[in-house]
Symmetry: C2
Subunit: 277 residues, 2 copies
């Protein structure tokens, strides 16, 4: 029995070690300009995060925006102004270079995709890292559910809704949602599983009729790819990390930097560390 | 702070004491033939149970049936053959008299409603107590959700489905479900809450299109009352304690005794004691 337990622990911990090594290696490769691709599927079991960087004059209002809208904007970490590391999320992170690709916004307009933002003055910059749906998608897959966007190797479908977020000064806008189709019994299971991941948008906010939340055409997502909804399936909608990006477009700060969609910060934390129950 | 905690504990425990007194008093009133009514709303916070009584030659197959179908038949307790008390569910319970009204089945046919079954030879009888949906309904109400059947003071709508249970020798049949209408966001919350009550049928087994589970006409329940499904609401279906009753009708034992619908055994256990997480 002790032998079995030892083997089991050893197996888990070697998987974790492998993922952790991969996370740290990918951050280094991103830092050195060698890796600038999508991070989905890398460092399995480890949490990936949405990144938002703002000047400190704008940071407090955005922090309050996250606090008021925790389902769409689940905060994992905030840096001190001018700080470049985020020790609570991983060893030796440099938030200015360890994301494979960044989007630079000026006055709310996307002006540049870049793999390095070290040329931007950092003295008063504040970095936010928000949980993303990759964490709960992994849990859904482990529970034996199929994800259409994973099956079809496409991006998840995302939509603007008519559900207003709670504004914080300049930061405001409607909630953006991601959609995954399921049969009803699978949807019930998916609700149970994603409820365990409040730092990854948690349970869905709606299912069924898209018009209930202001989506006119389910076949025309506002972001991401269209995925097929099969006979007997219903669309299930989760709050999405594009929501804070829209609030930045609305707030129009002189400068804001985010990760490039799908190219996330890979942390040292496991998805299970971020789960409840 | 200590003062506050003390008051809080004292308040809870006086509520519990009042409910416990009521539970024990109602069992005594039922025993003495004074109370034979529905038990809904009595002894708030305490779990009520479905009762099934079978001769011991049939009891093992039924026990296995419950084990194979735990969502429809969540076992709270089983007595030893000939035993009249069920100590694990409450003080001084006499299962032959403490249920307000019983149904007596002979060869699968209902032959009698009676408030006392002490005239039935008890030497080889085995009593089963199964969890019922009252436990999760209370949790839904406490979470601020409205239950149409409670609002309209009617019985919940119940339907035969085409979902087969797993048979155990003679015991078999399709699952019976209860239906409660909710708006999608409320349904998501209801799924989270009822997941905490595996001994009370747990999470729903289906929502949406009734025909998916073989229900031809949602407006014509097979048991209970019709409840209105309002615009924007969808029907949500939970496994129901009528399922084991149907399995008894199919098995046709020479004698079987159940509680009369809605007139349950009130236990000394709190609903929260039966919950998980």
């Amino acid at each position: 029995m002790i032998q079995y337990v030892r083997q089991h622990v050893s197996l888990s911990s070697s998987h974790y070690d492998a993922a952790l090594n991969e996370a740290r290696e990918l951050r280094m490769l991103a830092r050195n300009g060698i890796f600038d691709g999508p991070t989905s599927g890398f460092a399995p079991g480890l949490a990936q995060g949405n990144v938002v960087i703002l000047p400190k004059e704008w940071a407090n209002d955005f922090l309050v925006y996250c606090q008021k809208n925790p389902i769409a904007c689940p905060l994992l970490a905030v840096s001190a102004p001018g700080e470049t590391s985020i020790a609570s999320l991983g060893e030796n992170i440099d938030i200015r270079s360890d994301v494979p690709e960044y989007c630079v916004f000026r006055h709310g307009e996307l002006v540049e995709h870049t793999s390095d933002i070290k040329n931007i003055g950092w003295d008063d910059m504040v970095a936010f890292v928000l949980g993303c749906s990759f964490s709960f998608e992994e849990a859904l897959l482990r529970a034996g559910l199929s994800l259409r966007n994973v099956e079809s190797q496409s991006n998840v479908s995302m939509y603007q809704t008519n559900l207003p977020t709670v504004p914080s000064r300049c930061f405001s806008g409607n909630m953006v949602v991601s959609m995954r189709p399921f049969r009803p019994a699978e949807a019930i299971r998916a609700i149970q599983i994603t409820s365990r991941f409040p730092k990854s948008h948690g349970a869905p906010i709606h299912f069924g009729n898209p018009e209930d939340i202001g989506i006119k055409d389910i076949h025309a997502p506002d972001f991401g790819d269209q995925v097929v909804i099969k006979e007997g399936e219903i669309p299930v909608f989760w709050a999405c990390g594009v929501t804070p990006q829209l609030s930045i477009a609305n707030a129009k700060p002189p400068i804001a930097i985010t990760h490039s969609p799908g190219k996330m910060l890979i942390t040292d934390l496991t998805n299970e560390q971020l789960s409840v129950m």
